[in-house]
Every structure is written in C-alpha cells, then in structure tokens.
C-alpha cells in the first residue's frame, strides 16, 4: 500500500467513490449538527397533526404534531451510532475469529469455521429479533444483537486473507529470524489484512444501519429514543402510509441514502484493496 | 513507413518471408504518462524459421507478440507500424479477416500457459473447443486430428480423455503445444515456453520444438529471457532492450561475435558449465523508466563504452555483416578492442 496521499489520489479517481463520500459527509454533518440546527424540539407535540410540508414545517408533522424535520435531524445521531457500534462489534469479532482460524488452522481453525458456518446458516433477522427480545428494550441490545449476527462475513474474508498472507515469503523470513506467533500476527499479518477488513467493514456498517432501522421498526429498542426506524414504525402504526406520504418518505429516504453512501464508499475501497485486482 | 532492416545475403533468399514486422510502435497509457513499450521494432520470420526474441524484464517482447495477435490490453495502442502476413497488414485487418488468421495461420502459446488449462474439462474437450472455434469439422475428424497431434507432441493418444490435473508440468506444456498446432498454423508464437519447467523436461520440450520445425516446417517466434534456450533452437535472434531491438541476426554469428555492448554484457553474465571459471560480468543499474525522457540510446546509462553522442543521437539499426545487424554508434570500435 502506498502512502496516504497516493491512496487518496487513487480513491478520488473513482467517481462512484467520490459521490458516496460526499453523501457520507453530508450525513455525518447531519448527525453532528442536527440538534443545533433543528427548528423545533422534536418531542414537542402540537395541534398541527399530520400536516403536509409547509413553510412552517419543512417536512410536515406527524400524528402528534411533532416536526418531522427536527425528528429526522435528532434521529440521525442514534441511527448512525447504532450502525457504527454494531459494525465495530462485528468487525472485531470477525477479525479475531478469522485471524485465529487462518493462522493456526488445524482443529482450532476447523472448529471456528464450523461455528461461523452455523451462524451463517441461521436466518439473520429472526436471530436478531430473538436476541433483541431477550436482551431487553434498549438501544444497546440492538447493537449487540446486530453485532453478534453480522461478524460471519468478515470472519471468512479475514481467514482467507490470513491464509494467503501467511504463506508469503516475508512471514517465513520472520519465522526464520526467530519471531514468535503473536509478533508475526500483529506485525505482519494484521497490517496486510487491514485494508480488506476496512473495505468490508464499511459495507457492514451499511448493513448494520439497515438492520437497526428494521429492528426499531419492529418495535425493539427504546421507544423514547428517536431513530429513523422508529419514525417509520410510528408512521405505519398511525396509518400514515396511505395519507401522509411525507411521514414515510423522510425517514425512509434517509435510511436509503445513508446505506447507499456507505455502500458506494465500501465498493470503491474494495476495488482499491481487493487482492484479486492488485498485489498485496 | 520504411523497413529499417534488410539482412541481405543467401540467408534472405533461401527463406520466403512469412511475417514481417515493420517499424512497430506500441505505447501504453499509464497514469505517469505514455509508456513507450515497443519503439520502432522491425524484424521478419522466414518460412520454417525459428526466430528468438530475447530480452530481460520490461523489454517489450511480450508486447510485440500481443501486437501481432492483436491481443493488446486496453490502454495499449499501436501508434505506428505494420505487421505483414501473406501480404496483408494484420494491424489493419477486419474482425472477419482476423478470425481467419488467428489459430489457423498464427497461433500463440502464452506465458505460464500450463496453468491456463480448464480443470473441469477433459483435454480432448479443450482442444476440440479450439478447433471448433475456427473450423467446422465433425467429431471424427476432431478425434483423428487430436490423435495425430498427440503423437506429434509425444503424448499417448489414449490419454486425451484425462483431466489437466492428471498430467505433469511437462505434459501440460505439450498439450498447449498440441493446442497451438490444432488448426495447422504456419506460425506459432511461444512466450516463455520452458520457463517454469525442470531442466530435463525443458530439454524434451526444446527437442520437440526442433522436431516440429523439421517435420511440419512450422515457423516460430520464441520469446524468452534465457539466451541458452535460443542458442539451442533458434535460427535467428533479435535482442531487445527497453523497447528496441539492439542486435539482430543469425544465432551462430551473434553468439560468436556479439557486437552490441548489451549483448556482450549479457553473454558474459551467463555462468558456463564448461571451460575455465571466469568472473562473471554484470550490468549495474536498471532499465530506464520508459514513461519519462530517455537518452537517445536507451542503454546509455549502463554502457561501459558510452560516449556523448550516445545520449544525443539515437543509433539506428544498421547492417554490420551479412546476417547481423546492430544498433550502436561505436560497434566497430568496440569490436577492435
């Protein structure tokens, strides 16, 4: 891998990647600054129920008169944080499993991979729902539920990368120099596997945000925290789908575009780092 | 577009020219600029002749082969030159004409071809696929031809229903050669055909190549970095350096009296099995970056005979002898030393 500047230059050449990054920055700003620029307190109910977008309420109001735009801005934080946190758990777990399975192979490796297979085979959504229900109605339980289910893809990828890095000559040289396993793993294998983990994790974040939206939509999670998924749930339960299109569109489009932005960035990163298209 | 080599003498009259490359220039578009991979290369292959295209990494020999087959990757463009085959310029041929030429007239064995056999198809299926892509023949003819091909390359015809993994490296290379001969081409281009093979197998393949030339009168362009391989089989060699041909002519003459400093240094850097052990010479430095400005003679920075003129005026290839041409300003002086 080159220096950061060269990597940046290469990334920028891909228009898809730039578009994704721009969108990403937009949503990051929304999450950071949302509460400061929101015109209203999102929990403030008013008498203007289910009003369409107007000058007063740019995105209209919901069934208890709350301003949808403000809810969207406040909700960005929670939605994104849940996505990031869950993805972090998946990334760490998946990488650890993949590294150990790939470096040590043998029975330990086989066992870990069979475990991964088990998790792969279990249907993700029902599993997440069950975990969420067991762990209780908080945002943390959603994070854990998603994290515990989403690590398998990373594990497989990291394992195969580890296997191929492991047999490169510089690892052998290291061993011949007397390096011990932990040194080789952290000093040689990890730096050469990280680009791939990075690209994969960005996609995992996209997935996690979506899963978080789904889970909050299904009713798990803390009802008093505003998230986009939850906004959608209220939209459905209050029957606004047929009458107040703005109520459904606002959070729905946001979810869609956030996921899209991560996917685009992840896709371009993957193109850059994928060992099949470039040398390690 | 003038042909810049004319090797006169009985050599030329004996062999009709099958393929002539004239002034070929192939450049690649890279993010650092235009890479002049092949810059004004000219040579010809006579009927029944084996021409060795020799050079080290990044000299452009594979690019020349790909240009002849019109198989250049995107980003590479032929900027100039002609490739004449049977009076026709391949570089200007239409798709239809190319289909008639490829495999039926000119075929190619790619570098590392042993690994390009499809593991889930039998060998027979793969050769048949190649034949059927260019000719319409029935199953019996195909089988007959495969039998004959196998016999030519020294394989047991009964093994044609085997899968690639059941063959050794040397056998796989023979299969590739059989595939290249499947439609009876006049010219075969072989890119590093023996590089991945063991010594004994290499000898067997080279022997096979010699036999094929005798039995079938096939012409061949043999691309390699290994001078001892061309010494074994080729009639003529063209030594390439940084996209240009620096010396060209009859194999025996070049080995006996190399005229270009690069050729001389190259020959001196090969350890010998016979004779006294003399210290090997080597060429320090590395090949110039072909995307940037290069000295007029590309070998200038590494040449022990370099003079001021060499950096400013490009040496054109000139006839030094019957059957030997060299691109160097001072080859006469060097020879006298």
């Amino acid at each position: 891998m080159r220096s950061w500047r060269a990597a940046w230059r290469e990334y920028v050449r891909n228009r898809i990647g730039v578009a994704g990054l721009a969108l990403l920055i937009f949503f990051a700003l929304m999450a950071l600054l949302g509460p400061f620029v929101a015109p209203y307190d999102p929990t403030l109910s008013s008498a203007d129920i289910l009003q369409p977008p107007s000058v007063l309420h740019l995105l209209g109001t919901n069934e208890v008169g709350q301003d949808i735009l403000s809810q969207l801005l406040y909700g960005a934080q929670a939605s994104l944080i849940v996505g990031f946190a869950a993805a972090a758990i998946s990334a760490v777990m998946g990488s650890l499993v993949g590294l150990v399975a790939g470096y040590y192979e043998g029975y330990a490796g086989d066992l870990l991979m069979r475990l991964t297979d088990v998790f792969l085979v279990l249907p993700a959504l029902p599993l997440m729902v069950v975990l969420g229900a067991i762990l209780g109605p908080t945002l943390y339980s959603i994070v854990i539920a998603i994290g515990l289910v989403g690590w398998t893809g990373t594990a497989r990828l990291v394992r195969s990368q580890t296997l191929s890095v492991k047999q490169l000559a510089f690892v052998e040289s290291s061993k011949a120099s007397g390096a011990r396993d932990y040194y080789i793993i952290f000093s040689h294998i990890v730096p050469n596997v990280i680009p791939v983990i990075f690209a994969q994790t960005v996609l995992v974040i996209a997935n996690s945000i979506l899963s978080a939206a789904v889970l909050t939509f299904l009713g798990l999670g803390n009802p008093s925290t505003i998230t986009w998924g939850q906004m959608l749930e209220f939209a459905f339960t209050s029957g606004a789908v047929t009458t107040a299109w703005w109520y459904v569109m606002a959070p729905g489009l946001c979810i869609m575009f956030v996921v899209l932005s991560f996917s685009l960035v992840g896709y371009s990163l993957d193109e850059m780092f994928n060992p099949r298209t470039r040398k390690i | 577009m003038k042909c810049s080599i004319r090797v006169r003498g009985k050599f030329e009259r004996k062999n009709a020219k099958l393929l002539t490359v004239e002034g070929l220039r192939v450049y690649y578009k890279t993010n650092r600029g235009l890479l002049k991979a092949v810059d004004d290369v000219s040579f010809y292959v006579g009927k029944g002749e084996i021409v060795g295209l020799v050079g080290e990494s990044a000299c452009g020999k594979t690019t020349v082969a790909m240009s002849i087959m019109r198989l250049l990757p995107t980003g590479a463009r032929v900027f100039d030159g002609r490739v004449l085959f049977n009076g026709q310029d391949i570089l200007k041929a239409t798709e239809q004409q190319l289909r008639d030429i490829r495999w039926k007239q000119i075929s190619i064995i790619f570098q590392g071809a042993l690994n390009s056999l499809n593991p889930v198809l039998t060998v027979r299926e793969q050769i048949a696929e190649g034949i059927l892509a260019h000719e319409t023949v029935d199953k019996e003819t195909i089988d007959e031809r495969i039998d004959a091909l196998f016999k030519y390359v020294g394989l047991d015809p009964a093994r044609r229903m085997n899968y690639p993994h059941e063959f050794s490296g040397g056998m796989k290379q023979r299969i590739m050669i059989a595939m290249a001969l499947a439609c009876n081409p006049a010219l075969v281009i072989a890119d590093e055909p023996t590089t991945a093979l063991d010594v004994v197998v290499q000898y067997q393949i080279l022997d096979l190549i010699r036999n094929l030339r005798e039995k079938l009168q096939i012409s061949m362009i043999l691309i390699t970095h290994d001078l001892s391989v061309v010494a074994e089989v080729s009639d003529k060699i063209a030594i390439m350096y940084a996209g240009k041909i620096v010396e060209y002519g009859d194999t025996f003459r070049i080995f006996e009296k190399p005229k270009h400093p690069y050729t001389r240094a190259l020959l001196n850097s090969i350890p010998k099995m016979q004779g006294a052990k003399t210290p090997l010479t080597y060429i320090s430095g590395s090949v110039p970056d072909l995307t940037g400005p290069v000295p007029a003679c590309r070998f200038y920075d590494r040449c022990s005979y370099a003079q001021k003129k060499c950096a400013e005026v490009e040496p054109k290839i000139e006839e030094a002898d019957a059957n030997q041409s060299v691109a160097c300003h001072f080859w006469r002086e060097i020879e006298d030393q």
Partner: protein, 332 residues
C-alpha cells in the same frame, strides 16, 4: 554413512526424513499415503564452504532447507548445529540457535513485507530477538545496507519495498539476513527471479560477504551453472535423497551418477555449436508419493541392471566425491 563430523563441521544432517501426509477428504488426515519429500539425507556442512543443493522440482531441496532452518519438524532423523541438536533444543536455546542461521528466499517481491519501511524490514531480526538498543539498531542497519551495496543507506531507510527494483529488494533481503551476524545462511534460489544481467551482481555480492563475514552458505538452486559458479561442493538430489555429492568442479567435469549425467547433458548451453545432445533419460520425475523400489532412478535409468533392485548407498568414488550408484562404484 558419510557423516564424518570433524572440527570443521558446522551443521550435521543425520538421516533426516520429512514425510507429508496426503490429505483426502474433509476430516481424514492421512490414509497411509505420504509425500516423501526428504527421505533419508545425511550430509555435513563444513565451516566456510558454499554447499549447493541442486535438483529438479520435487527433489526435496527446498524441504531440506526448511528443515535446517527449523521451519519444519522432521519425521525422523535430526540436525546438529555445532553439535547441538536443533530439534531437541528448548525454546530459549532455539532462539539462540536461530541467531546463527538466517535465510534468503527466492521471490524478491514476496520476501519483504510491503507495509514496512526498509529500516523496519532489516531491523526485524534485531528487534525480534530483543537486541534492540535504540541507537544501535539504526547503526547496525546502516552497516548492513552499506555492506550489501545500498549506499548511502539514508536513501533507503524510509523507502517501501515497492519503490525498489528486484535486485535492490534482494539486497535488502541479504542485508536482513546478515544484520545479526549469523554463521550460516540458507539461500533458496536467491537469483532465479532476477534478470540475468543482475544475477552475477548478487552472486558476486554473496561471495564477497562470505569472505568478509566468515559465512557458510547452503545454496539451493535448479540452475547447475549458477551452482557451479558459486559453490565449493555440490549435492545433487533426486526424490528426497542425495544421489551424488562432491566438489562442484569435479561433479561438473566428471559426473558419475546417471541422473547427474542426464541433468548436465540436458542443460541448454549458451553455445549454439553444442546442440542436439543425446540426453539419456526417459520420462519425467515421478511423484514423491510412490517411490520406486530399489534405486529411485531405476525406472528412468538407461543403465539399470539387476543390482539396482536394492537401493544403493552413497559410496566414495573419488577424493571427497560420493555417488549412490553401483555402476559408479564398479568404475573405481
């Protein structure tokens, strides 16, 4: 056996064997099928010599190299380094032994971690063996780089491998190997992937370093001409065993084992006048799973006779020259 260990011996290989089980299916690890990569090799490596291991692919030379470096554990036999058993050594003893032997591998593009600067690459043996001492490390790395001809070293310290040419990378690999002052260097095809015109440079460098630092080399190559150029002694391997061993010049001028003769005559010479040699050997190297009974070379040997049904041992056929062939024996 010809392991006559003397004062002169640095490494003694004693009847070492390495068999790899052939994996079949998901869980079954072996079904009594083994790849006999190294099948009983005994040799003494003398201090200060260059011993080359030559042979075709599958002959076991690479596996033997890894056994000497203790990157693999043997199925049988052992190796003594200065009379200390490599495979019986404890963790800390082994770490001390590792300091004495280093490796240079074939692929200059894969033998350096692409994510590390040259400084980190060359200093690794020091760091890993806790020989770091702040200033000393940089100093030693500089010395090493100068010794391999990468001068001034400051130019290279902060570069990454992708910024260097193949020849330069190989020099870095050599610098890494000598930075902890080893006694033995095992070089596995160190020049095969380099351009021909650069090979001589690296070979000359290795020989110079040998003089300067009192090194011993085990040099693995399939290129007999290169082996002849650098080595004092040559050992020819076939299907996991040494079939002929002796002074390099002697073996090239007077090969006595039929396989060595075949190898030498099959070598393309860089001289078009000596073409069309008559190589007397049939077929190709068989796989190392089913070793032929008796002499391993018997199925391909043009001179095989009745005695060859019993595997021959290495016997003396000349001054310091040994061959495992009954015919060679009878000549003497």
């Amino acid at each position: 056996m010809m392991t006559n260990a003397t004062q002169d011996t640095l490494v003694e290989v004693k009847n070492i064997k390495k068999h790899f089980p052939v994996r079949r299916g998901l869980f079954s690890r072996s079904q009594n099928q083994f790849v006999h990569a190294v099948d009983g090799v005994s040799v003494s490596i003398r201090k200060g010599e260059v011993l080359s291991l030559v042979g075709e692919s599958g002959c076991g030379k690479t596996t033997l190299a890894r056994l000497i470096l203790r990157l693999l554990n043997p199925t049988d036999g052992t190796i003594l380094f200065e009379r200390q058993d490599l495979f019986a050594a404890s963790g800390s003893e082994m770490r001390k032994l590792r300091l004495q032997m280093q490796a240079v591998f074939q692929d200059p593009y894969a033998s350096l971690d692409p994510k590390k600067t040259i400084l980190r690459v060359v200093s690794e043996p020091l760091v890993v063996n806790r020989r770091k001492n702040g200033v000393n490390v940089q100093e030693k790395v500089r010395e090493s780089l100068i010794a391999v001809g990468l001068s001034p070293p400051e130019l290279y310290l902060s570069k990454f491998p992708y910024e260097l040419s193949g020849g330069q990378r190989q020099r870095v690999a050599i610098a890494r190997a000598i930075v902890i002052n080893p006694r033995l260097i095992v070089a596995d095809e160190p020049v095969s992937m380099l351009d021909v015109s650069i090979r001589a440079e690296i070979l000359t460098l290795m020989l110079d370093l040998k003089q300067k630092f009192n090194l011993t080399y085990v040099f693995i190559t399939h290129d007999l001409a290169v082996a002849r150029y650098v080595s004092d002694r040559m050992a020819v391997m076939y299907l996991g065993k040494i079939v002929e061993i002796g002074p390099a010049e002697e073996i090239c001028a007077n090969p006595l084992h039929p396989y060595t003769k075949a190898l030498l005559s099959a070598l393309p010479s860089a001289d078009p006048r000596t073409r069309h040699k008559d190589v007397q050997v049939k077929g190709e190297v068989p796989n190392a799973i089913e070793i032929p009974a008796g002499c391993r070379f018997r199925p391909r040997c043009p001179h095989a006779f009745e005695r060859c049904t019993v595997e021959p041992e290495l016997v003396k056929v000349g001054p310091d020259h040994y061959a495992a062939c009954y015919l060679a024996e009878e000549v003497q």
